[in-house]
Symmetry: C2
Subunit: 148 residues, 2 copies
């Protein structure tokens, strides 16, 4: 582990996983709207939402995706990690009151470049709402001890 309690590249192996979960509230949608400036009516206007295939307001896709960033930045690899890339496939809507579980699982460790590739999935009630893959750069104990 690094001094911030995140995993060094030397600590990470294929198959390791971590998860977080959050219940999405109306307040989350309002705050995310303010930060993102994404004022699309499908997120804010319940009457309009009812006229769409979703049948009501839905959360911003990037709001749920941000939970993936949270798992990577706070649990696995955790503090010290640098986000390199992310792919996202939005599979199903998330509604107010849904609890989103974001899970990451190590699928590849590229030790010489301190890179880790992880499968990332967000689920609601066991059903995938976002699937994708993250690439991150981690700290390295060997580099730290070598003063690099």
């Amino acid at each position: 582990m690094n001094p911030q309690n995140g995993y060094d590249i030397e600590d990470i192996s294929v198959g390791m996983s971590a998860e977080t979960a959050k219940t999405i509230s109306e307040a989350d949608i309002l705050l995310f709207t303010a930060v993102s400036t994404d004022t699309n009516a499908v997120h804010l206007d319940e009457e309009y939402g009812k006229t769409t295939p979703f049948g009501g307001r839905i959360a911003h896709g990037m709001l749920s995706a941000s939970l993936i960033s949270a798992v990577l930045g706070t649990r696995l690899p955790g503090p010290g990690v640098i986000y390199v890339g992310q792919t996202l496939r939005f599979k199903a809507p998330v509604r107010i009151g849904d609890t989103v579980h974001a899970r990451v699982m190590v699928k590849e460790v590229i030790a010489e470049r301190c890179r880790v590739v992880l499968d990332t999935v967000c689920t609601v009630g066991g059903k995938a709402v976002i699937e994708g893959e993250a690439t991150v750069m981690t700290t390295s104990r060997a580099k730290r001890e070598a003063g690099k």
Copy 2:
């Protein structure tokens, strides 16, 4: 255009583009932390940030990425659009006070499936901080008029 003033698939052609921009404040980072639960110290702790290669606090990558969602959901294609997928390559950090420009440009129109593929880029001072590609599903005037 659809009744919500978004583009139908019939209105969209390769090369069309749209942009939004936002200056990232400390408040944005605090609100995004609350929504995402991503409490990584590099976003919150200036003293820790100074010890990293970034030289200070940086915004969450997904915060800047959320501006791409805003352009897609409010400008091009705009209201009525459904987010299908997004790839993100994080190229450089965004700091408090930076103005992030998020730009999308149509690169492919798949009319029969109402799909549009767009290049997406976020820049600060003309330098790319996020590059990637979005796939969205749009409304269709033909389908609407056929009552589908």
